[in-house]
Amino acid sequence: MTIAFEPWMYVAVLPEILLVVLTLVVLGLDLALPEERRGGLGWLTAGGLTAIILVGFAVAMPAGEPRLMWGGMLRHDWLGFAFKLTALFAAAATSLLSMDLAQVGKRGEYYLLLLASTLGMMLMGSAADLVMLYLAIETTSIPLYVLAGFLTRDDKSTEAGFKYLLFGAMTSAVMLYGFSLLYGFTGSTNLYELASLAQAGQLSLASVFGSLLLVLVGFAFKISAVPLQFWAPDVYEGAPTPVAGFLSTASKAAGFAVLVRVLMAVFPGIQPYWGAVISALAVATMTLGNFFALSQKNIKRLLAYSSIAHAGYALIGVAAISMPGSTLGATSVVFYLITYVVTNLAAFGAVAAVGRVTGSDEIASYAGLSRRSPWLALVLLVALLSLSGMPPFGGFVVKFAVFAAAVEVNLIWLAVIGVLNSIIGLYYYLTVLKVVYLYRSEEEDKPMPVPGGYALGLLVLCVGILLIGTLFAPWFSFSSGAAAALF
């Protein structure tokens, strides 16, 4: 298969090109500016990313049939486009939420690594070739290893980076072994060529299924699904809080993007089998995440287990895709992830804003927060209620969509387990809110300053949560566009 070069391909990857330019500008300014003026780099990064999102909407929106481009390395379609913009948005919010953090916010290399990893995520969303996919995943991961261990004077942060690297390197090697076998069985590295060979029945079921399991190891690590979830709480606790937020949202969303694309493209012939595997993963992931979250004392660990549980909910949608006749499956997954990214970034943003003043991530230290800073308490309220799936917020609508997708294809038992898990989830989110709103502390007369970057970032995220929750329809059609073009 040869894909001839055409000029529109430059326009289609214009957001990526602009992101590379922005990365180089940040690198240059980091060298040129004196140290006390580097605080502006955070605003530059956030502003630049916002501009790239607007440019993306203006010129790079896919129209008509999905097309392969750049020699079959990338695919120009709605799935890739939706996840591209999600990654850009998450990176912009993360840079707003990190710029006032000591030891992080005024370091140019921090933004450089953030942007490099965002580039990888954008490519993960649209990669259509095993070579590109591997490169994109590593471009995402390697800067994230460094970001997790960014605070070199902090014991927990170095340990987080170290653990993330060891688990990440191991799982990506296993995944790569799966890629090499897929290439060997078919003689092609292009996902869509693999798909046509698989549909033509030229591949034996066992060989495809074996390769699938190896590949799934790498993807399960990225989305922190059971049994490869154990790194998440440790890494989130140790990493700088905005980085933990970025890891739990953008990185996970990009992982789901490749999971959906690879499984739908390469393995349609064995859908019932992987449907069973994914259902089992979904049940194990959400149940384990929720039960471990119940006993957490540290809010970052609690959010880590909650993010594992949310990967489980999203996997319900992925399981629904695998069933014949699913029209809602892919839609609900895309929709779920976009909302989850916005919501969880708000939660981690509030935690970062509190942590920079109190110096602690223990839930007990949140006592009296509603009196020290009513706005931060309100942000936590909105974010946690949305995570638990309460109606006026985005989280409710998307949970509804995922469960609806499961019911549509007769996976009613899966939806029931999902609902039961949501109830467990509600308990631990409300426990945090109880401490925030009802408990008193001796320091409650000391107001908690919220710098401009946090205020803007959290405001945008909260408005996003409310908009998704109330203006359901436009978001829904946006994501169903993404889902319709999967094939």
Binding site: V131, E138, G161
Partner: protein, 102 residues
């Protein structure tokens, strides 16, 4: 000519040795070496498949080149992280790096 299966069995053995090293070794450097063995097994797979299945196309070779370039970057970052943890704790034994746990 040596049959393809010889290469594949060799690669699978190398991969298993690497995986065993990653799971069983306690020293961080040795774990990274285990990962390298796994990636080398992948490279043998890729090059063997390229030679036997698609010798006229460049994809397999290009993939192998990418893999070892990325592996080098990964190890560079890995060793940097090991150094930063060694400076704080004076150890590279994975079992002793246990501040974060349930």
């Amino acid at each position: 000519m040596i049959p393809l299966s010889y290469f594949l069995v060799f690669a699978a053995a190398l991969f298993s040795i690497g995986l065993y090293g990653v799971l069983a070794r306690r020293n961080a450097i040795a774990i990274l070496m285990g990962v390298e063995l796994m990636l080398n097994a992948v490279n043998i797979n890729l090059v063997a498949f390229w030679r036997y299945i698609t010798p006229t196309q460049i994809a397999g070779q290009a993939f192998a080149v990418m893999v070892f370039a990325v592996a080098a970057a990964e190890v560079a970052v890995g060793l940097a992280l090991v150094i930063s943890i060694y400076r704080r704790r004076n150890t590279v034994v994975a079992d002793d790096i246990d501040l974060l746990k349930f």
